[in-house]
Subunit: 328 residues, 2 copies
């Protein structure tokens, strides 16, 4: 139906093989190459990528599995991955799991059926646990979250350290009843909790943490509840941007202001955290770097499949703003 390589060959008076070689920069004499290129332009020929991929056994496709592209962290991650991919003349297929292990399983299956070149993947905690056993026939680079052992390459930030930094910053600014609010689906949240916990203990403070589903709603509920019960904390650490939003709303709904009543801090330097009141103190993650690094690891792994697995740890940056200011 549509014009194929044979039509071009016929139009140029050469064989299909020669056309293919022109397309792939193979060895072709200058005049034939020119004739073929003219024929390509004349016929408006477009290669069929499915056929090409089937025959060449290279999909030139990388998979990207995240929980939700609307999470700003993953938005800019995906953008940086795509930029790197298209620079390498590759395509990206993007999947949203909504933290749902079933969807995760289905997308992992899809990745195999696409015969992707490599996968960049932010797994749920439950799936991450069993990830080391599974055998994929493409390299996998874990981002943001990681499994226990480390069969796969990974790039993460120093979550425990960053959370500790936040605790230290708050303590140094005169806060001591620091409440921690963490997600319950990712290794990342766990690590942040651990960092929070040890920093608290190290400074002789009493840990006071809760784990909830990583939504704004769940976070809002949890904070509302905590504010209503017992002695009120004077500071809060929240484990990601979306939850921080929920916490902020809950705080406002309770009629509280930051930093006057509560020093609200958390992860992810999203736009609104800068604009709101005197600004929220947050840990900024080098998201674009994470994406770029992940792609680098992927490509290196493709070149040297037998290299030992590597984990790259980038560090977050504390952005101090009004919400953690010393008060009173």
């Amino acid at each position: 139906m549509t014009t194929g390589i044979k039509d071009v060959a016929k139009a140029a008076g050469v064989s299909a093989a020669t056309v293919s070689r022109v397309l792939g920069n193979g060895p072709v004499s200058a005049d034939l190459r020119e004739k073929v290129e003219a024929a390509i332009r004349a016929t408006g020929y477009r290669p069929n990528l499915s056929a090409r991929r089937l025959r060449s056994q290279h999909s030139r496709t990388i998979g990207l599995i995240v929980s939700d592209i609307r999470n700003p962290f993953f938005t800019t991650l995906s953008r940086s991955v795509e930029d790197a991919a298209y620079r390498a003349e590759m395509r990206v297929v993007l999947c949203n799991t909504d933290e749902n292990p079933d969807r995760e399983a289905m997308y992992l299956r899809l990745m195999q059926e696409e015969r992707i070149t490599g996968l960049i993947y932010a797994p749920t905690r439950t799936t991450a646990a069993s990830l080391d056993e599974r055998n994929f026939d493409f390299p996998v680079v874990l981002v943001d979250r990681t499994g226990p052992n480390g069969v796969h390459d990974a790039v993460v930030i120093d979550n425990a350290g960053a959370a500790g930094q936040l605790v230290g910053h708050l303590h140094d600014h005169g806060h001591s009843r620091i409440f921690g609010l963490f997600g319950n689906t990712s290794s990342t949240a766990i690590e942040r909790h651990d960092g929070y916990r040890s920093a608290m203990i190290m400074r002789g403070l009493e840990p006071d943490a809760r784990f909830v589903a990583p939504h704004d709603r769940a976070a809002a509920e949890a904070l509302t509840e905590r504010l209503a019960s017992g002695e009120r904390p004077d500071a809060v650490v929240v484990s990601n941007g979306l939850m921080l939003l929920g916490a902020y709303r809950a705080m406002r709904a309770a009629g509280l202001e930051t930093p006057r009543d509560l020093a609200l801090t958390g992860f992810d330097n999203e736009t609104w955290t800068e604009l709101v009141g005197s600004g929220l103190t947050v840990i900024e993650q080098p998201v674009a770097d994470i994406g770029r690094t992940a792609m680098d690891l992927l490509f290196e792994r493709l070149n040297r499949p037998d290299m030992a697995p590597r984990k790259v740890v980038l560090s977050g940056r504390l952005v101090a703003r009004g919400s953690s200011a010393r008060v009173g």
Copy 2:
């Protein structure tokens, strides 16, 4: 190398055709089907999508071309498109053009090579102009932005009406020197300007608009400049979320507060617009509906290719907040 349909066939003691029929829910007797399914499980067989697509001539892939996934409008648009796609067992290939016509051209080429089933596309104004002449061999649904004539289906919001609504709202609340700040790359911005302009004239107000590149930086510069020169406006209408952010920053940098000094309003109900001060008055777009509707149009078009092109116009919703409150 990897296990193919023939290996499964051998393991099950049937022909490749039968395995294929089991996979595609073709007519197969119950016992053979069972044997084949067992063999599939035993061999861990995964179909090769490239081969399947090549032979069946159906890519089951829809393309999505937007300017930048980090623009929240496109973020949630892409999510709603993907949800609809995966519900229909299709994949999505996502492309970011950065408003760059060259990248647009390259991605359009890519779409043809992928032999996509259909395309959802937010074109640059320059590309949109020539879009009607081009002949794609897949249906195209324009979103958010549209070309002049309308050879393709489209789903947009009533931009002129919404901008007019904003002007009316501001005027009703006592503002009359209303400055308009619009992007210069999309038909959408043009329409919003037109709506702004006619509403101003209709109400006997003097239009005062500027077109700039649709960034936060450009918007910030433009507003800063405007605030410094001549009689200061008492209200501003900004044509999209990112530019609104720039405008807000510029306003704050100039030491002004909303609504006291300036009634800042615009498009896109992003998170931060609600949280900032007493909130920014904005036009909220039904983004998820736009995506869903676009997919609907696409599927209908696939079923009935000869139907006349349709344009679906959804309407934005005015979300009145503090920034447009009557003052003085």
